[in-house]
């Protein structure tokens, strides 16, 4: 079950080749889904346009739950892209995984903490940026010492903890799902094919559960992004 990661380095920057490839595949799939479903836009939507509009309204609902739509509207595109990207990324590792010579090539990009933590840090930076933008530098700094100034260290820890949990939650769920799928796949090939019978039903159940987890995790990621965002941009917090 030990897998090595394909790796290359350009000018001191190390790349996980599999991650980069899977990220690009994810991006291409999301782009194709989005463009195909919005190619023939109609006032009376049909088929895929309905689905895409449902996604938009869904994300809009998430944002509206957390903040005023007037301030939250600017995060709509971020939210839709995030939820689609993470959902597709979560799904990619489910049907199969490919490893060549012990190198793992096909997997969910979100099963790598580097990717998920990068996304989480991106969210951290964005929330703080929009916090400064919405409240001004003074108002932004004031949120760290309100309601009490001795809360400052806790507030700083909160930032780091939020980011760490945001990234690791996603990574942990998807990684665990893939590990178990890998184990079941190993079982299926054991005992010269007899293991397939034993592995078939748990495999199906776990894949279904993983689809569910992948959807939930993408929802949670966007939800928490908007929660953190609203803490930063709204004045009454």
């Amino acid at each position: 079950m030990e897998h090595k990661n394909p790796y290359f380095e350009i000018a001191g920057l190390g790349f996980n080749t599999a991650d980069v490839m899977m990220l690009l595949i994810t991006a291409v799939i999301v782009f194709i889904i989005a463009v195909v479903s919005t190619r023939k836009l109609q006032l009376k939507p049909t088929g895929m346009q309905n689905f895409m509009e449902w996604v938009m309204d869904f994300v809009k609902g998430i944002i509206s739950n957390n903040m005023d739509w007037k301030t939250g509207g600017q995060f709509h595109i971020l939210g839709i892209t995030l939820i689609m990207f993470i959902f597709v990324a979560n799904m990619l590792g489910l049907p199969f995984s490919i490893s060549v010579d012990g190198y793992l090539w096909w997997k969910s990009p979100t099963a790598d903490p580097v990717v998920t933590l990068t996304l989480a840090v991106m969210i951290l930076v964005l929330t703080n940026y929009y916090g400064v933008k919405a409240q001004g530098m003074k108002g932004y700094l004031k949120t760290f010492v309100s309601p009490m100034s001795f809360l400052l260290p806790i507030k700083i820890i909160e930032e780091l903890a939020n980011t760490l949990t945001l990234g690791l939650r996603l990574y942990g769920n998807i990684f665990a799902g893939e590990v178990l799928l890998g184990l079941l796949a190993g079982l299926a090939t054991a005992w010269s094919g007899a293991g397939f019978l034993a592995a078939f039903i748990p495999m199906m159940a776990w894949q279904a559960f993983s689809v569910f987890i992948g959807a939930i995790q993408s929802f949670i990621f966007v939800m928490l992004t908007m929660v953190y965002m609203s803490h930063k941009v709204s004045k009454d917090h």
């Binding site: 897998h3 190390g14 990220l23 463009v35 836009l41 709509h76 793992l104 903490p113």
Partner: protein, 173 residues
């Protein structure tokens, strides 16, 4: 790296700065592309639909109000027409009563007139009859006198005499 021990099968001495950069670049480029090619137009059309729906609701509200006004107008017109019709019927009734009275009274007058003219006719007939009777009496008297006198009494000569006599007899009676 700090998180290396978390990476599945990571080898020591491999940094992941490139992967981080790739993640960021892929995500941001995807977001920008989608904004341009998918979300932007989709949001536009959703906005357009919202406006359309709002407009439709507004116009529906307006036409509903208009219909209501028309209905009120029609209702008042109907009411007016009904009262007018009632007035007309009332008028006609009164007129009919008047006409009836007129007809009856004129009929009565006609009847009276007819009665009177009949009376007059009767009177004149009576007078005529009396005159004829008188004539007859005169000629009979002349005849009788002729028989009595045995002599032709000329009607012409004695007529005046006889008539006077008869007149006297009438007066005496």
């Amino acid at each position: 790296m700090l998180l290396d021990y978390l990476v599945l099968g990571s080898a020591a001495g491999q940094n992941q700065y490139g992967t981080i950069l790739a993640t960021l670049v892929v995500f941001v480029v995807l977001m920008l592309l989608l904004k341009k090619f998918a979300w932007g137009p989709l949001m536009g059309i959703m906005q357009q639909r919202e406006e359309l729906v709002a407009n439709e609701i507004e116009s529906a509200e307006k036409s509903r109000k208009e219909a209501h006004e028309l209905l009120e107008e029609q209702r008042s017109l109907l009411k007016e027409a009904r009262t007018e019709a009632q007035a007309i019927v009332e008028n006609a009734k009164q007129q009919a009563i008047l006409q009836k009275e007129e007809i009856v009274s004129s009929a009565k007058a006609e009847a009276v007139r007819l009665q009177e003219s009949a009376k007059r006719d009767i009177e004149s007939e009576k007078e005529k009859a009396i005159a004829a009777v008188r004539e007859e009496v005169v000629s009979l008297s002349v005849l009788a006198a002729t028989k009595v006198l045995n002599k032709e009494v000329s009607t012409e000569d004695n007529r005046t005499l006889i008539e006077e006599t008869i007149a006297k007899a009438g007066e005496a009676r």
